[in-house]
Symmetry: C2
Subunit: 486 residues, 2 copies
C-alpha cells in the first residue's frame, strides 16, 4: 500500500531548506520503522502538489535518497523504500521491576561541583550583553575562514583532514606559530618546544597534570581566571592564592616551597593590569632561585592598545623556567578550540604524551584551516579589525562609565576586551537585577579564592556588544546601582 | 630604495600555488624584517617577468596583500610595504652563561614512558600497509564530507562554528545519534544520557578519571586495546587483566572487589571474537551483583559482516550499569576526533564537567559538519561502501591467508577491519624484517599485559590496503616466516 502524500509535512519557518527537510523526514521515518522496505512513495507530482513546492525539489530529494540507497527507483512505476535497509532492533523500555545499578554511591560529584553555574548560555538573546570571550559577527572574518576551511578540505589535504596523527601536530601550523606569532612576542622556539592544545583551558589542564599532584604546592594570582582554579582544585596539589596589586603578582608574596606559579603578567585576568619589566625580572629571578616553574598565560596579548605590547615573560626568560600558554580563542574565535604551549622540549614531550593519552590530537582539519588563515594574512587583518573595533568600543565605554560615575577598579589597563569595576552594592544581586533588564554583566565572585571578596567587583566585557548599545547598557547598570543603594 | 625582483623566488615543484607562495614570501619577509615599512616593491610587470609568471598572478597577490594591509598601493607609483605594520621585538638568543632551569628533576617521564613507540607515522610510504585504524581514500566520501563542512560554514551557522559552547554539545548531533545511531544498536537514550568526546580515546580517559583512582580496582580483557591500558596505568587504580577465550571475556574470571570492568563484547579487540548472548547476560548479572560499572567499547560495530550485529550490552542492560562508548573514527575517519558516551545521566553529568575542565568541548564546526553528514544519509552510504569494500578485501585476505598457510588465531570473527594471527616466530622481529620489505604488520606485544605472550601473535588490518595488493603482501609475510623458521 503506497505511502500517502499526507504523511509528509514541511516546516516553512525552519531555517532548514525544504529539500533537506524532506530527505531527513524520509530517512527518519525509515529508521523509525514508520516507512517499511518495499513501500511505494507518492509520485513526485502528487507530493510536490501536496507540499506546495516545485517538483524539482521533490525530485532532487528522491534522487539523493536513491544515491544513498534509501530509495529504489523502478522505471515508470516510481520510488520505493529500498528492501536492503537493515533496521535496528527495537529495545523495549526498561521493565519497571528491573533492579537498578546504584550510581549515587559511586559518584562523588567532585567534577560537577567545580562547574561554574553563572554562565548564561543564551546570552545572544540579551540586548546589552557585556559578556566575555564570545565571538562577534561584526569582527570575525567569517568569509575568509570559510575560504581557508574549503582549501583545507581539498583533495591534496586528505591526509591532514582524515588521518590519525597519533601525537603529531600539523607541521605547517607549528612552523607558522614559531616564525610569525611567537617572534612578535619576542619568543624563539623550535618545533619540539611547541605543543598544540584544545585551547588554553586544555593547555592549563595538561600543565597542571604534568607538574602537580598530591603533595605538591602551587601559587595563583587572586583574583584569577576561574577555570584555572577549577583545574587546580582537581590536581591534588595545595593551591596558594596571592593577592595581586596595581602591578599584578608581587614576587615577594609567593610562599616558599611551591613547584609552580601561574601568572597573567602581560594582562592580569581579570584586573587588566600589566606587570612592569622590573617586576618581571624579579619574578624570573625568584623562579630560578626557588626552582618553581612559571606558567605564563599570555591571553589577549594581541589586543593591546598602548602601542607595542610589553615582551612576554618567556621572551626575557633565559633560564627556560617559563611555560608559555597562547590561544587563538580570542584572536580567531573560541569555537576553534586551539591553543598552544611553548616550553622546554623535555616538558613538551611529557605534555604531548599526556595529550595523546587523553585525546590523541586536535582535529587535523581545524589545524590545517588555521594554518591557512594565518599564512594568508587573514589573522593579522582580523587582529587589526578587532583592535580597531575594540578600541572604538573601549572609548565609548570609558566615556559612558565616566558620565554615569561608575568606579573603575584599575586604571591604566593596556587594553583587552573588558573593564574591571568596583561595585558599591553586592555584584551578584546586581547582576540578577540587570538580567531582568536585558543587561548581562559578570559578577566578580568566581574570580576570587574568597567569593565574598569578589562581590565588590564586576567585569564589563565589550567584545560582544556593539558600540551603539554601550551607552544605554551602562546607563541601566548605573541606574540599578543607584536603586540598590537607595 | 626599491626591493629588487631578484629578492623573490618561487618553487614550481611545490604543491602550493605560485600566487600563494608569493604572498607568503612577502608576508614572511615583512615579519622577519627583511622588507621594511615604506620600501617599494618591483612593478608587477618587472616581477612577473623575473618570475616567469602571468602578470595577473602577481597582481592578484599584491591586491590580496593590500586588502590585508601588508601593502599600500599609491596611484601610478606602485606598491609599498605598509607603514602601519608593527614588528615583533627581536629577542637575542639566550646568553650562553645564563643559568638554566633544571627540568630533569621535575619530570618523572611517567606519561612519555606510556607512549607506544611502535607506530609507523609514514605508513603511507609502504606498498603493503596492513595498518589499523587509518582512513582510506577509496572508501571515505571526501566530496560529501566537504559539502557538509561547507554547509556547516554557512552564515546561518556562525554561532555553532565560532561560539564557546561551555559544556554543551551540538543539539542536532546529539539528537541524531540518539534517534538514528543508537536505535540501530537497540539503545534508547535521552540527550542528558549522551556526552560527545574527542574520540573513544578521550571517552575512555574521562571514564577512567571519573570512576577510578588510587585504592580502586578494575578489570580489563587480555589482550586488549593498548590505549586503554595506557590510560588505566595513569588512573592510579589497580588493573587486573583477565584472559579472554573464544567467547571473549569470561565473567567468572573477573576478580572480586573491582569497581569497573572494560569490555569489547561485540567485537573483542584484537581477537575479533563476539561474546554470545548468554555470556552477555551473565556478565550483566555479575555487574549488578558485584556492583561494578561495565564499560562497553562498541568500536567497529558498523563493520559486521555476519548479518545483523548482535545487540549491544547497553541494549540488553536494564540496570543502567553499562557505560557505552561509541566512535566515528572508523565509520567516518580518525582525524574527525569525535566519539560519544552513553550512560546514566548522573555519570554523564560528572564526565561532562571533567570534559569542561580539561578541554571545554569538541570544536563546534566538527560537530555540526558531522550532524549534516549523518542527517543527509552520507554516513549510511559510506558504511555501505565500507562494508562492501572491507568485505571484498576480507575475502581476498582469507583466500591468501589460506593459500600461504598462515595461522588464524581465532575463527568466526564477525567482521571488522583486521585479522588476528598466531605467529610461529617472534612477531616483533618479524615485523622488523617485513618493514624492510615494504610490508607493515602489527606485532602483538602492545596488546598484552605480558608483552612476551604477545610475541606469538600479530594483527593484519585491511582497512588501508587495496585488495589488489593483499595477495603479494601476504606472500611476503609467509616468506619471511618460512625464512625465520629455517
Amino acid at each position: 500500500m503506497p505511502i500517502p502524500p499526507e504523511a509528509f509535512i514541511l516546516d516553512r519557518s525552519a531555517a532548514i531548506p525544504l529539500q533537506l527537510q524532506l530527505r531527513r523526514q524520509i530517512i527518519g521515518a525509515v529508521i523509525a520503522g514508520r516507512f517499511r522496505p518495499g513501500e511505494k512513495l507518492p509520485s513526485i507530482r502528487a507530493l510536490a502538489g501536496h507540499l506546495g513546492v516545485a517538483r524539482v525539489t521533490v525530485a532532487q530529494a528522491f534522487a539523493e535518497l536513491v544515491a544513498t540507497d534509501y530509495l529504489t527507483s523502478r522505471d515508470r512505476s516510481g520510488h520505493y523504500i529500498s528492501e536492503g535497509i537493515e533496521l535496528g532492533p527495537e529495545a523495549g523500555p526498561p521493565a519497571p521491576q528491573a533492579a537498578r545499578f546504584d550510581w549515587g554511591q559511586r559518584l562523588d560529584g567532585r567534577f560537577a561541583q567545580a562547574q561554574r553555574r553563572d554562565r548564561v548560555r543564551d546570552w545572544r538573546r540579551f540586548r546589552f550583553p557585556f559578556v566575555y570571550g564570545q565571538a562577534d559577527p561584526e569582527l570575525v572574518d567569517h568569509a575568509a575562514w570559510r575560504d581557508c576551511a574549503v582549501r583545507a578540505l581539498g583533495r591534496r589535504e586528505f591526509a591532514s583532514l582524515t588521518g590519525d596523527l597519533y601525537g603529531e601536530d600539523d607541521p605547517e601550523l607549528i612552523d607558522y606559530i614559531a616564525r610569525h606569532i611567537l617572534t612578535r612576542r619576542g619568543i624563539r622556539a623550535r618545533p619540539e618546544g611547541i605543543l598544540l592544545t584544545l585551547g588554553a583551558q586544555n593547555a592549563l589542564w595538561l600543565i597542571s597534570q604534568v607538574l602537580l599532584g598530591p603533595g605538591r604546592r602551587c601559587a595563583i594570582e587572586d583574583p584569577c581566571y576561574p577555570g584555572l582554579r577549577e583545574i587546580l582544585a582537581h590536581s591534588g596539589a595545595a593551591v596558594h592564592p596571592v593577592a595581586v596589586d596595581a602591578q599584578g603578582l608581587p614576587p615577594d608574596a609567593i610562599p616558599a616551597g611551591v613547584s609552580a606559579v601561574f601568572t597573567t603578567a602581560s594582562h592580569q585576568c581579570p584586573t587588566n593590569t600589566t606587570m612592569p619589566l622590573p617586576r618581571r625580572r624579579a619574578l624570573l629571578a625568584r623562579a630560578l632561585q626557588d626552582g618553581f616553574a612559571l606558567i605564563e598565560d599570555d591571553y589577549e596579548f594581541e589586543l593591546s592598545f598602548a602601542g607595542a605590547t610589553s615582551p612576554a615573560l618567556k621572551a626575557i626568560d633565559q633560564s627556560g623556567a617559563v611555560i608559555y600558554v597562547g590561544s587563538f580563542s580570542k584572536s580567531v574565535f573560541p569555537g576553534l578550540r586551539l591553543g598552544y604551549v611553548v616550553a622546554d622540549p623535555g616538558f613538551v614531550a611529557e605534555a604531548r604524551a599526556l595529550r595523546g593519552l587523553s585525546l590523541r590530537h586536535p582535529p587535523g582539519h581545524m589545524q590545517r584551516t588555521l594554518a591557512h588563515f594565518l599564512s594568508l594574512g587573514h589573522h593579522d587583518a582580523q587582529m587589526k579589525r578587532m583592535r580597531r573595533g575594540y578600541g572604538e568600543r573601549r572609548a565609548v565605554m570609558l566615556e559612558a562609565i565616566g558620565q554615569e560615575g561608575l568606579d573603575l577598579a584599575r586604571d591604566g589597563a593596556t587594553g583587552g576586551s573588558s573593564f574591571w569595576l568596583a561595585s558599591p552594592v553586592p555584584a551578584r544581586a546586581l547582576a540578577q537585577t540587570l538580567r531582568a533588564r536585558d543587561v548581562l554583566i559578570e559578577p566578580g565572585w568566581p574570580f576570587f579564592a574568597d567569593p565574598a571578596r569578589g562581590d565588590g567587583f564586576f567585569r564589563l566585557a565589550y567584545s560582544s556588544i556593539s558600540a551603539a548599545r554601550i551607552p544605554e547598557g551602562i546607563r541601566r547598570i548605573a541606574t540599578a546601582i543607584r536603586e540598590a543603594r537607595a
